[in-house]
Symmetry: C2
Subunit: 368 residues, 2 copies
């Protein structure tokens, strides 16, 4: 039985547990607190920035993988030097530490992305701004942003004065997209690469609120372009595990890469119910160097909606009674402003009905 | 978050873990050994016959439930007296401790069953034998049999001489059945009752080898009779949790009750991939008094095949490569003669193809 360690005790680690149980993988989690979402599999509660703690946790593992990208590169390299497989690799993960580094890498690979530039002390503001088509544009802190945090649409430099004091800021053109897609795929050590069909993600206040799978109205060309784009990135970076590529689709159908993640991703939760192989299972297969599973969909349509705030037990009951086919995933997390605490998936044959049922189930549980 | 304890660390407890994770239930297992199949959720390793140990395990639980029926009734009653919900109840579970007690109960309920009698010291052998139609008949040890153990088809008294020395033996007519069905359903505390469609189970040497879902050629009347039979038993016994009723179907279509289990059952494993709600999830919902989930099937056809003996890592890889849609469940158990160590599920639109693919996947893994 392969021993796979996961750094991070969030919902992504939590949702790897069912996949590990079914695959017969011995999963162990390095959690950041006693009450982590993945506490069932927690072996260690500690600080993932400590080389000593992560190395001790890894000492009897076959593979180390991740629920988040925040483990320092030198810690990862030290674990690899112990003889433990680190997947995705320290070199690949490092790209996700800094959005400016990522933009450079994507430019090297040659995949289409929004126009971008770097604003900072040593640069000309006019040049940075004109490179992204002027205001309004999107400003991103290069390090540490997520779920809308560290991202601002700006119309003047004042609006990021605080960030510019700290260092460089990534500027991106405000893309006139018609929708956003999630391109989920997995790549194994041996280079096997398996994509799911693209999904449509719908954001509210910069946070994913709904995912429609498959993305409505996908043409064969959309799928072919999506696959080419995702595979180019996966192969060039040498990703091992799930790769999530968030893209903008413009009104001419063109795809532009927004963000990357080298792990299971919120936009892929729906595959747990919709696909023969969930993203959590596929990630574990990839990092444990098992053959990848079938990404085929077992139904025509599916919708995932995220839950925020509290999930009161009574409301959950009401939702289940009203929509018995709803799969309500409760991450066991303390509610905090804007924090995802669960999600609902509904699968069926008719896309409109499925959407309506998911929204109905959500109406009991989430005010948004 | 409800705290649900499971006595027994076998594969049934193991497969409750994914369901608990998704539902947001805090699951804890009372295992019988350090290397149990459900070790991930094991909180205690101990002796389930010890009232003290089971009571200590139960002290901070909301609900106690089971992976097997072997916990002594007085231990269960003591736990209930502590204020912990025991589901199914000690009174219901007790019926499964002794096959003769169960036959009496089924006779009281009035559901059809094979002709049966009790052979023992104080009884007339001729009367016992003629009650079941003479030799050949089926002899069963009343206590402790499973998977073909404790069951013999006999043509003379000599063949159960050893058992008769120990006490009463259950005799049953050898039913000329055309097939065996598994009737799986769940009942909650509030009396809500939800069945899945009947499945066909195929035995080899008294052990379930294959399950076909739904059972081929089910008529509306078959389903109505199955539902009536299962619900009569569930309501009469007051089962809370999953109830598995194994029945013989005769060539005239008539159903006769063979065995009962008040827990998830091998014949229901296929619902994990086939149904909106797996039997493990439904069992947890029932015992935690949550609304029951939809038992709808998400595909036309599915097949489960059991695995025996070793599951070599390389063979698993070969099976996955050949049949990427196969879900191979590995219980993480040491192989022993005749012991189930895993199963494979395949789901699809065409029953014949699904069967062929399941058998193909099995060919890499199980010699039988």
């Amino acid at each position: 039985m392969k021993r796979v360690g996961v750094v991070g005790g969030g919902q992504l680690a939590r949702m790897m547990i069912p996949a590990a149980v079914n695959l017969g993988i011995d999963i162990r989690v390095f959690a950041e607190s006693e009450n982590s979402s993945a506490t069932l599999a927690a072996r260690v509660v500690g600080n993932y920035r400590s080389q000593q703690e992560v190395s001790a946790f890894s000492s009897d593992l076959d593979v180390l993988t991740f629920d988040h990208e925040h483990v320092p590169t030198d810690v990862l390299i030290a674990v690899r030097d112990q003889g433990v497989v680190v997947s995705p690799s320290p070199e690949a993960l490092t790209l996700t530490h800094n959005k400016i580094v990522m933009r450079h890498k994507l430019a090297d690979i040659g995949v289409p992305q929004p126009r971008w530039s770097v604003a900072g002390e040593s640069r000309s503001r006019d040049e940075s701004l004109s490179a992204v088509g002027g205001f309004p544009c999107v400003a991103k802190k290069p390090i540490g942003g997520y779920d809308g945090k560290g991202v601002r649409v700006i119309t003047s430099w004042d609006q990021i004065g605080d960030w510019l004091d700290d260092g460089d800021v990534l500027l991106e053109e405000k893309v006139p997209f018609v929708r956003e897609l999630g391109l989920l795929s997995a790549r194994s050590e041996s280079g096997e690469w398996v994509p799911w069909l693209p999904v449509e993600t719908r954001q509210l206040d910069g946070v994913c609120a709904e995912v429609i799978a498959p993305a409505p109205g996908l043409s064969d060309q959309d799928v072919a372009e999506s696959d080419f784009l995702a595979r180019s990135i996966a192969d060039s970076i040498g990703v091992v595990g799930v790769l999530a590529v968030e893209v903008f689709q413009n009104d001419d159908g063109r795809l532009l890469v927004n963000e990357l993640a080298m792990r299971p991703h919120n936009s892929g939760h729906i595959f747990t119910e919709l696909s023969v192989t969930s993203q959590f299972e596929q990630h574990l297969r990839a990092v444990a160097d098992l053959p990848l599973g079938s990404p085929a969909f077992t139904a025509n349509a599916a919708v995932m909606v995220n839950l925020f705030g509290e999930i009161p037990e009574d409301s959950k009951r009401e939702a289940w009674r009203a929509v018995p086919e709803a799969k309500i995933h409760d991450y066991g997390k303390e509610p905090r402003d804007g924090r995802k605490v669960g999600h609902i998936s509904v699968v069926g044959s008719d896309a409109d009905k499925v959407y309506a049922r998911a929204i109905e189930a959500r109406s009991f549980l989430s005010p948004r």
